[in-house]
């Protein structure tokens, strides 16, 4: 049901964990549908210097979180904001259609983390 790339990210997820002194944190999903993601970012000179995640969810949820962190690490905030959930699915070589809406939320979580970072800067 999942391709090799998805299974690789699921089995060996990159950047799992928490950044204690994160500059931005974003959480998305709910227990009802079974997928929750939390993304932590460290920002330096407008770039994502470090990114980590926690995910409670199925194989697609874990794999998409992992893939997203690899895609945006080192990128500028603008570049990171332009990454969509569909881009993550494409990077993974596709996800089963039933998973596209419930489990493929990592980019949304990242966008929330960036918003959080920006609102912290304003205050």
């Amino acid at each position: 049901m999942y391709n090799e790339k998805v299974m690789d990210h699921f089995q060996n997820p990159r950047n799992v964990g928490e950044i204690q002194d994160a500059d931005g944190v974003g959480e998305i999903g709910n227990a009802r549908c079974g997928d929750i993601m939390k993304i932590f970012i460290k920002v330096k000179e407008g770039r994502i210097e470090d990114i980590k995640f926690f995910t409670f969810g199925c194989g697609a949820a874990i794999a998409s979180s992992s893939a997203l962190t690899e895609m945006v690490k080192g990128k500028s905030l603008e570049e990171a904001l332009s990454v969509t959930n569909e881009d993550v699915a494409r990077e993974l070589g596709g996800l089963p259609s039933v998973k596209m809406h419930c489990s493929n939320l990592a980019a949304d979580a990242l966008h929330k983390a960036i918003e959080d970072y920006k609102s912290r800067c304003r205050n």
Binding site: T55, A61, V98
Partner: protein, 388 residues
């Protein structure tokens, strides 16, 4: 411990027994006659079908003329529920069922609801048991059918079927029970338990897929829902699946003959397995601790998600199932786990492991050994996300 293949999904289906296949083979090859034909080919097939009918009847304390062969459990459930509704709608349009039925029953009931029938879905306690006093209160003058499963397919809880049957009989209401998981694991006797209609499926007890039975007590009013010929006393027209029927007869005969010894062994292994799972920590048992199917283990592994658990177990050679949304084909976790009061996140971490007659202690030990690091790894990915 070397890697091995461990099948712990016998609640989904069981392998076909060699002895059963041997009985079936002639009817897939040389003895291909249509039981409705009057020539020797047809008569030979007819004899085989009637022998199997007797075998099924003997297994549940019924008479052969009360056995209707169907394509499986789902069809039998539909025939019972929709058939009674069609036959008795002039008398009343109220049906009672439970919140934890298989979808074969729930969906059939919901289709009747759309046609104007009123349904009562009895709640269950935290173990999944229907309370008899709730049933007594729910029966109304216009109630025409009570349909409550014998044993639950997900959490294994076994209902007080005899108690339910007694109430229904005394109140003059038909009692239908989906006994798909019960055959070969529990004592089923339609007379002692006052059962009017009962569904079963051969592939759950080492028979072939695509064949089942509806038991209909003599005199129970039922209208057919399929039309087209005189087979199965017009209740289920269509040329009989002779090889399947023969296989089902043999499979049920063996299952009932071996039930005592096989279930004693499964009960012991089941309890050993549950104890091992609880030792992992953050694991809770779903369903009743004793009043459950001998082969059923269902636990929630907190802070880990069901599909992720299944994928990892599969990579280690262990086949299991889950009530998480991701595996149910919907966005919601299992209605059974929700009905026993589990929170969504706990329901999503459910794991069902159903033993078979040949499951050994080594299979359980292997499963426990590979499961521990999987749980630890998934919990690390979950981190601090789920707060209970």
């Amino acid at each position: 411990m070397a890697k091995r293949k461990v099948y712990l999904d016998h609640g989904a289906t069981t392998p076909l027994r060699k002895e059963v296949l041997d009985e079936m083979m002639p009817y897939l090859t040389n003895s291909f006659g249509n039981p409705s034909s009057i020539h020797s080919f047809g008569r030979e097939a007819r004899v085989a079908v009637e022998k199997a009918r007797q075998q099924v009847a003997d297994a549940i304390g019924a008479s052969p003329n009360e056995i209707i062969f169907t394509s499986g459990g789902t069809e039998a459930d539909n025939m019972a529920i929709q058939g009674v509704a069609r036959a008795l709608s002039s008398r009343g349009k109220h049906i009672i069922t439970s919140a934890i039925e298989h979808h074969a029953v729930l969906d059939a009931c919901q289709s009747l609801e759309k046609e104007g029938f009123s349904l009562t879905y009895l709640p269950v306690d935290k173990y999944g048991l229907v309370q008899l006093k709730d049933l007594e209160k729910a029966i109304r003058p216009e109630t025409i059918l009570v349909t409550i499963m014998f044993a639950n397919n997900e959490i294994g809880t076994v209902q007080d079927v005899a108690g339910i049957g007694k109430i229904c009989r005394s109140r003059g209401v038909y009692f239908n029970t989906d006994a798909v998981q019960a055959i070969g694991q529990l004592d089923v006797n339609v007379q002692e338990q006052n059962i009017d209609l009962l569904s079963m499926s051969a592939h759950k007890f080492y028979g072939p897929k695509g064949i089942g039975v509806l038991y209909k007590r003599q005199g129970v009013k039922l209208k057919p829902i399929i039309f087209g010929g005189g087979q199965e006393r017009k209740f289920r027209p269509g040329t009989e699946y002779v090889a399947g029927i023969v296989g089902m007869g043999k499979a049920i005969e063996l299952a009932v003959a071996e039930m005592e010894t096989k279930t004693a062994k499964m009960r012991e292994l089941r309890d050993y397995f549950v104890a091992g799972l609880l030792e992992i920590g953050g694991v809770t048992l779903n369903g009743h601790p004793q009043q459950r199917l001998p082969n059923n283990v269902n636990v929630s592994i907190h802070n880990a998600e069901g599909e992720a658990l299944l994928l990892n177990l599969d990579m280690e050679g262990v086949a299991a199932s889950s009530g998480s949304a991701c595996t149910s084909g919907s966005l919601e976790p299992s209605h059974v786990l929700r009905a026993i009061g589990l929170k969504h996140e706990v329901a999503h971490g459910s794991l069902r492991l159903t033993l078979g007659k040949d499951t050994e202690r080594e299979d359980i030990d292997y499963t426990l050994k590979v499961l521990k690091p999987i749980v630890a790894r998934l919990r690390k990915i979950t981190g601090t996300l789920v707060r209970e």
